[in-house]
Amino acid sequence: MGFLKVSSPHAHGPMSTARVMRLVLLATIPGLFSLTWFFGFGSLVNVLWASITALSFEALALKWRKRPIGFYLNDYSALVTAFLLGIALPPGSPFWLIMIGTGFAILICKQLYGGMGYNPFNPAMAAYVMLLISFPVQMTTWLAPQGSFAGDLLGPIDALRYCFGFGRDSIDAITMATPLDVLKQNNSLLIEDLWQESSQFGQFAGIGWEWANIGFLLGGMYLLYRRVFTWHAPISMLTSLTVMSTLFYDGGSSASGGSPLFHLLSGATMLGAFFIVTDPVTSAVSNRGRVIYGALIGILVYVIRVWGNYPDAVAFAVLLMNFAAPFIDHYTQPRTYGHKLKDQQGGKS
């Protein structure tokens, strides 16, 4: 037998795509735990059902495309999409809503573009936006966090029942507007008074929401530590959001957009910063490009939250910036060794 004929390098590092995806899944645990703690098992059921449907759709699409199913399912990318969508959807969402979401994410946003790596838009966020526009009622029905409805935490059985359409009527009894909604609807009260008035608010932001965000922040820190992504995009997004909310806080008047801390710990801020903005496929590629990409997302999030029609804005902001990513790439090519920066701008050599 002859020797293997391969080109260098012959050594390979320990990192693999499946490992990256597994780390991401692992990093969602603190956030998911917080969500479950405060909003019941709805989110876990979402994630479970989303995972089942997403993997099924992925397998189906791979079969249609005549690709090795096992090989591609093993990269865990469909599972990551399912987790993110399941987390983003309101706890206790109906099964069909989740299925439509994963079907759209996997079949249309991912496989139709050519599978993993080829999708221009983040599949989870695209599906979320599609559902939000198509099914606004279901998409804005959030459960009330524990504390306001003491003892009525959604258990696993109830969660499954709600999900698959049994006794959905009773779910309305335990829903409540999200803090971002409340703030948006407010046009008369000072921030301080609003805080007193509404039962949704907790220490820094909404009850439960603040802890869920802190959970995702922890997960994100872990991923940074494991060098799954660089700090550039998430830190830049959080920084620009902080800057925007500080600029427009105006001391807490009735027209105030809310405190910086409120924005950092409300809605999908941390989930977006560490799990969506960092999606490598759809973001800018260079570090400088990622700083710009993240910063613009932060600005957009604030703009849409405060002056737009939708209470939360991470999905819209990310989708908009997905559009802009190739453009950013074009102008942010890093300076190569032995070259002068100005010679390289705009793709010129």
Partner: protein, 789 residues
């Protein structure tokens, strides 16, 4: 503490260096056969200066450098050149190339060589030349001829000399062990390099911090020399020339430039050692340190290996287990290339042979999709965007690849190492580079052929235009002529013919006949300056003249025949031309024969006067007495003359027949034939006369021989004198008389014919009258000559 800069990116692969550092450097010994590729360096391959079967000594140059960027090859040990042929060489493609194969004799006999104790005594040019003659090429891996790097230019002053002891590739320890064991030689080489390059600022040796023993040894050896050992954190690929320069100085070599552009020269420490040995001991580069390692080797080890040693020989020494090994790598695991054949030799750049087990370096898993995670960009030491370049490479977007600085990629493999999807990124870049280079060459080719095509089209068009113009001009001229002819039809025609005749006559007069001229020249030469032309040359010239005259004769005859067929009025003129040419031919023939006759005695005694036949005869006779048979015998001469007479008689009868036939047919050529007959007659007479003379002389000489047979010289003199007299007194008058007779007979015949023609009103009458006048002239001339003699 010295400031150290950091390079972008980089990776930390498992080092695996300790395995081969357990034992000191071992001499690998002399294998039975050495294979020395002619191209072990960057640049033009060396050119062999030995032949198969030659015995060569250790250190003897067997192939010389071809051009400036090239390096010679030396015999690593004594032996016999077994072959100069194509063999598999260490190359990623597994290709074959010209190699010199030496069958070693085990004697390891050195050729005479001499080093120099104090290198400062030699000029820079001499030192660089010694390095060049020693065949030293960069031993770190690239193999750039060291002498070229040393030939620094004055317009690029060098600030810093850097010696590269980084050795950042995993597994390889050749430089490490060199530092541990031969630190003094490295420092000595560094001092020579410093003397040569004269860096204005500093001389540095850069080493990664994973070689503490080597660093300690170097520092000890460098004490008091001013050479600084700079230690920096281990990271792959710090050992790349550009990367090391950045780490040590913070400077970047401009893209497409050389380190000398930023005032730096960089050499490997192994190269420095080789330069030291070449200068100090006069030893060319014939061996190097090579690491043989990997888990498939029982005893990983550093060897001092003769260049040309087959890899198999080293593996055998190291307890190689082939069953455990699925890939064999020349070089390290990051930038080395796989070998297919263990017969390939160690060359000047072979720093490592790596034989890993399957578990150690498993075959690459199938590549997954790129998720643009950017880990490759994080690892890239030159700040490229490998993930983008990968997409462009797949889409063959060459322009975008170039805009993304594909050609700044050093192919270190860090991106492929880091890629979580196992994409062989470097392979894509290599392929794309090759595609782009190919495309550029194709483009140049296409442009050239386009230029060629356009030039050709333009030329053809111009030619066509010129032709067209000529055609138009000719048509105009023809029209004008036709108009003129229409105006004066009769007179014009006659004028044209007359004019043509005039022209040809003028031409004839103007251009002196070349044959005539040549003869004149030859005669002048013969008279005045004989030395100018050697007899051989003369013979050749005359033969040439003869050939050309014959040719002209045949051409003239053809013309004549043609003219006669067409009943052309110029036929007579042609006939005259023919006869004249014949005369010339005869003259040349005569000269040639004379010359040839004179040649024989000239050979025997060049000093003799070849114009004098008597003298010639004396010479001949003298030669004869001396024993040289230069001349023909009397019997031979008799036979020859008899033959001549016979052949001439035959020719005469043939000519007479022809003449008769011509007269019967009332041919215009009759006059020419008559001349021919007459001449042949004359020749016959001459031949007969000569024969009879000869026979007479023969009798006389036999008589005189009887009187004084003991003196043949005297006899010959007498004979020759007699012959000369006979020729002088008799032949001329006789000839002329004969000529007169024949002329008279021809005149009579012509007169008859003329009368006949006149009676019939034939238009040939004029011509006949002309030839009659000519004949009468000739007769008068002949009679004049006769009366004078």
């Amino acid at each position: 503490m010295r400031k150290i800069w950091d390079i972008h990116g980089g990776i930390h692969p498992a080092e695996n260096k300790h395995q081969s550092l357990h034992n000191p450097i071992e001499n690998a010994g002399i294998p039975p056969q050495l294979i020395l590729p002619l191209a072990q360096h960057i640049g033009a391959p060396a050119s062999p200066i030995v032949n198969v079967g030659d015995r060569v000594l250790k250190g003897q140059m067997i192939a010389e450098a071809k051009g400036f960027v090239s390096a010679p090859v030396h015999a690593p040990t004594s032996g016999v050149i077994a072959a100069i042929e194509s063999r598999v060489i260490p190359h990623p493609s597994g290709m074959s190339a010209s190699c010199i194969v030496i069958d070693t004799d085990g004697k390891d006999e050195w050729i005479a060589h001499q080093g120099i104790e104090d290198y400062t005594q030699l000029s820079k040019i001499e030192l660089v030349d010694r390095v060049r003659q020693a065949g030293i090429a960069g031993m770190g891996g690239a193999g750039f001829p060291a002498a070229v790097k040393l030939s620094t230019r004055d317009d690029k002053p060098i600030e810093t000399l850097i010696l590269n002891g980084t050795e950042c590739e995993p597994y390889i320890t050749a430089d490490d062990i060199l530092m541990r064991e031969r630190a003094a030689e490295i420092i000595a080489g560094a001092e020579i390099l410093r003397h040569l390059i004269k860096p204005s600022k500093e001389t540095l040796i850069g080493v990664e911090d994973n070689k503490p023993e080597g660093i300690a040894a170097l520092k000890k050896a460098a004490e008091g020399t001013g050479i600084e050992i700079v230690v920096f954190p281990t990271k792959y690929p710090s050992g790349g020339e550009k990367q090391l320069i950045q780490i040590l100085t913070g400077k970047e070599v401009p893209s497409g430039g050389l380190p000398s552009d930023v005032g730096i020269v960089c050499q490997n420490i192994g190269t420095a050692t080789a330069i030291y040995r070449a200068i100090r001991f006069g030893e060319p580069l014939i061996s190097r340190i090579t690491t043989v390692t990997g888990e498939a080797c029982g005893q990983p080890q550093n060897y001092e290996v003769l260049l040309g040693t087959p890899v198999q020989y080293l593996l055998d020494k190291s307890g190689f287990n082939k069953d455990n090994c699925i890939r064999l790598i020349m070089g390290g695991p990051m930038m080395g290339y796989t070998l297919q054949d263990t017969a390939v030799p160690i060359v000047k750049t072979s720093n490592c042979v790596l034989a890993p087990t399957v578990a150690e370096l498993p075959p690459p898993p199938p590549a997954q999709a790129c998720i643009r995670c950017g880990m490759c960009a994080e690892a890239c030491p030159v700040s490229l965007l490998p993930q983008q370049m990968y997409w462009f490479a797949r889409a063959q977007e060459h322009e975008k690849l170039e805009n993304h600085q594909l050609f700044d990629c050093i192919e270190c493999g860090a991106c492929s190492f880091a890629c979580p999807s196992n994409i062989p990124l470097v392979q894509y870049y290599r392929a794309s580079k090759a595609e782009i280079r190919q495309a550029q060459q194709d483009k140049i080719k296409a442009e050239r052929s386009k230029e060629r095509f356009e030039a050709r089209t333009a030329r053809l068009e111009q030619e066509e235009a010129e032709k067209e113009a000529k055609r138009a001009a000719r048509m105009e001229a023809a029209k004008a002529k036709a108009a003129a002819a229409a105006n004066a039809p009769e007179a014009g025609k006659a004028d044209i013919i007359q004019a043509a005749i005039e022209r040809s006559k003028a031409k004839k007069a103007e251009s002196a006949d070349p044959a005539q001229a040549a003869i004149a020249r030859a005669q002048a030469k013969r008279d005045g300056n004989v030395e100018e032309e050697s007899p051989q040359e003369k013979t050749e010239r005359l033969q040439k003249l003869l050939a050309s005259a014959e040719k002209r004769l045949s051409a003239a005859k053809e013309k004549l025949a043609l003219a006669q067929e067409q009943q052309n009025e110029n036929a007579d003129a042609f006939a005259t031309a023919v006869s004249k040419t014949e005369e010339k031919l005869a003259a040349i023939q005569k000269e040639l024969s004379e010359h040839e006759a004179s040649l024989a005695p000239t050979k025997a005694s060049p000093a003799s006067d070849n114009a004098d036949p008597a003298q010639a005869a004396i010479t001949r006779a003298l030669a004869k007495r001396a024993g040289a048979n230069a001349d023909e015998t009397d019997e031979d001469k008799t036979t020859r003359l008899q033959n001549t007479v016979a052949s001439t008689e035959k020719r005469l009868s043939a000519a007479q027949e022809k003449l008769a036939a011509a007269q019967e047919q009332n041919d215009a050529n009759v006059a020419a034939f008559a001349t021919g007959v007459e001449k042949t007659q004359a020749k016959l007479d001459t031949a007969k006369k000569e024969l009879s003379d000869h026979l007479a002389t023969l009798k006389t000489s036999s008589a005189s021989e009887a009187v004084a047979s003991d003196d043949p010289v005297q006899a010959a003199i007498e004979r020759a004198k007699a012959a000369r007299e006979a020729q002088a007194n008799m032949s001329d008058a006789d000839k002329i008389k004969q000529t007169i007779e024949s002329l008279e007979s021809r005149i009579a015949r012509t007169k008859e014919k003329l009368e006949a023609a006149r009676a019939e009103g034939d238009d040939k009458a004029d011509l006949l009258a002309d030839s009659l006048v000519k004949l009468e002239d000739k007769l008068a001339a002949a009679q004049q000559t006769l009366s004078e003699t």
